[in-house]
């Protein structure tokens, strides 16, 4: 049925159907964010030898995040007098929209995918770069000293780590010969790219933590020095959208790592092929998420000078070297 739909000529009817399907994915993602935040608090709680949320919704605190979101919805909306009003209002929208847009091309299983475009990987990287504007505009528009510093730091950090991020996947593109995410998964039938591209994977993972603004690279927000970074002045639902964008990116980045390095929906061994692809995908996806949460409760925050120097002096040369190493190995042995 969906194949017929894709082959029919595009029109308003198609738009409406895609819109409804998109809304379903949006609800799934919002559900993930709700329980992702809870999982983060629970995992961090147990890692720090405490319980985490356990009051609302049973012992597991299942309704804690729902209550938090409702609280944010009922908060008064405050826009400071000195703020640049249009930019202040626009910033959360600019931060959130690309985080949802990148999900369009990710193949969850061989059948469950939204847009199968030829340049899927490039699309992801290009669109995710737009979020920098959200942080920078939010910081600039607030007209607050902490926010401006946080916004500038966010921009500097995101552009510095975007280069190792895009260069580390080049090894994968060299091996698979395509930017299409479906082709990249199919190219991993012989072996996952985490095994063929270990250096690329490590660089990509470190750079992705910096792109997600998560600890140990959460300098734009750095509570202890910048209060909250670029969203100091934001309250209520506008603040919620910055948080939401962050967690939707966590979702998207984990899905991308699963697809690009961990073989997407493919089983680890051929004889395990009877288990459906969706199960494999979600298992790998959960492992990636868990590693992100684990990192957060293990590592302290970087210092800003070390962060920038690490990106330019270590990650960038390593990523460049990895490209040529891969190209050389490919032309010699394949």
């Amino acid at each position: 049925m969906v194949q017929d739909l894709l082959h029919s000529s595009p029109g308003l009817a198609n738009f409406a159907i895609f819109f409804l399907l998109g809304v379903v994915l949006l609800l799934v993602v919002l559900g993930f964010v709700t329980y992702g935040i809870l999982a983060e608090r629970k995992v961090m709680g147990y890692m720090q030898l405490r319980h985490g949320p356990n009051q609302l919704g049973g012992n597991w605190g299942l309704l804690q995040t729902v209550a938090d979101v409702l609280k944010l919805l009922l908060k008064e909306d405050i826009i400071p007098k000195l703020a640049d009003r249009p930019l202040f209002i626009l910033a959360p929208v600019i931060a959130f929209a690309p985080s949802f847009m990148v999900l369009a091309t990710i193949p969850f299983t061989d059948k469950f995918q939204f847009a199968d475009i030829g340049v899927g990987l490039l699309y992801y990287i290009a669109v995710s770069g737009l979020t920098t504007f959200g942080a920078l505009l939010g910081g600039w528009g607030s007209n607050n000293k902490y926010a401006l510093l946080g916004g500038a730091r966010a921009a500097a950090q995101m552009i510095s780590y975007e280069i190792p991020l895009v260069m580390s996947v080049l090894g994968v593109i060299l091996l698979s010969g395509s930017l299409n995410l479906n082709d990249i998964v199919h190219a991993q039938k012989g072996g996952w790219f985490i095994l063929l591209q270990p250096i690329g994977f490590i660089v990509f993972f470190i750079a992705s933590v910096a792109e997600l603004n998560r600890t140990p690279f959460d300098l734009p927000e750095a509570e202890s020095e910048l209060v909250a970074g670029f969203h100091v002045e934001y309250s209520g639902f506008r603040f919620a959208f910055f948080m939401l964008a962050e967690y939707v990116y966590l979702f998207a980045m984990s899905a991308l790592i699963t697809v690009v390095f961990l073989g997407g929906w493919l089983p680890p061994f051929a004889f395990l092929g009877f288990i459906p692809g969706a199960v494999w995908f979600s298992l790998k996806f959960c492992v990636v998420i868990f590693v992100y949460l684990w990192l957060r409760s293990t590592l302290p925050r970087f210092r800003v000078d070390r962060l920038m120097e690490f990106g330019w002096k270590v990650l960038l040369p390593v990523a460049l070297g990895n490209i040529f190493l891969t190209a050389l190995i490919k032309s010699l042995f394949f």
């Binding site: 919805l73 405050i78 847009m101 369009a104 475009i117 209060v227 959208f241 920038m308 040529f324």
Partner: protein, 124 residues
């Protein structure tokens, strides 16, 4: 014709996702407007500055380092724009393309080393 339809439909989906991404914040903020209280008070609308009265505009002159990093970013991001098509077509181009790209990257790496020696990469 069929392929063109598939192509257009796939980009239609991307457009749908853009619409949803913009609509969700707009709708949610509009709904919030109906629910949330509105009690204006001058003190609430002052800029936060750790409790002291905020003084002069916060948009001050900024460290020039941010600008230099932005320039470096442009150089290396344009480099990746050239690297992507090269990587996709590498199977057809062969060893000659590898040497060519190596020369191109080495030139940019010389730039990086120059910046390194000039202490541009050092963040104070």
């Amino acid at each position: 014709m069929e392929l063109l339809n598939v192509y257009q439909n796939n980009y239609l989906i991307v457009f749908v996702f853009l619409c949803l991404g913009v609509l969700l914040p707009v709708v949610a903020l509009f709904l919030g407007k109906l629910l949330r209280p509105h009690k204006p008070d001058d003190a609430k609308y002052t800029t936060y500055e750790s409790g002291i009265e905020p003084f002069h505009d916060s948009r001050v002159q900024f460290n020039v380092r941010y600008y230099i990093f932005a320039l470096m970013f442009v150089i290396f991001d344009v480099e990746t724009v050239f690297l992507y098509p090269w990587a996709v077509a590498y199977d057809k181009l062969g060893l000659f393309a590898l040497v060519e790209m190596l020369i191109f990257v080495v030139m940019l790496v010389i730039g990086l080393i120059y910046a390194w020696k000039k202490k541009v990469l050092k963040w104070i």
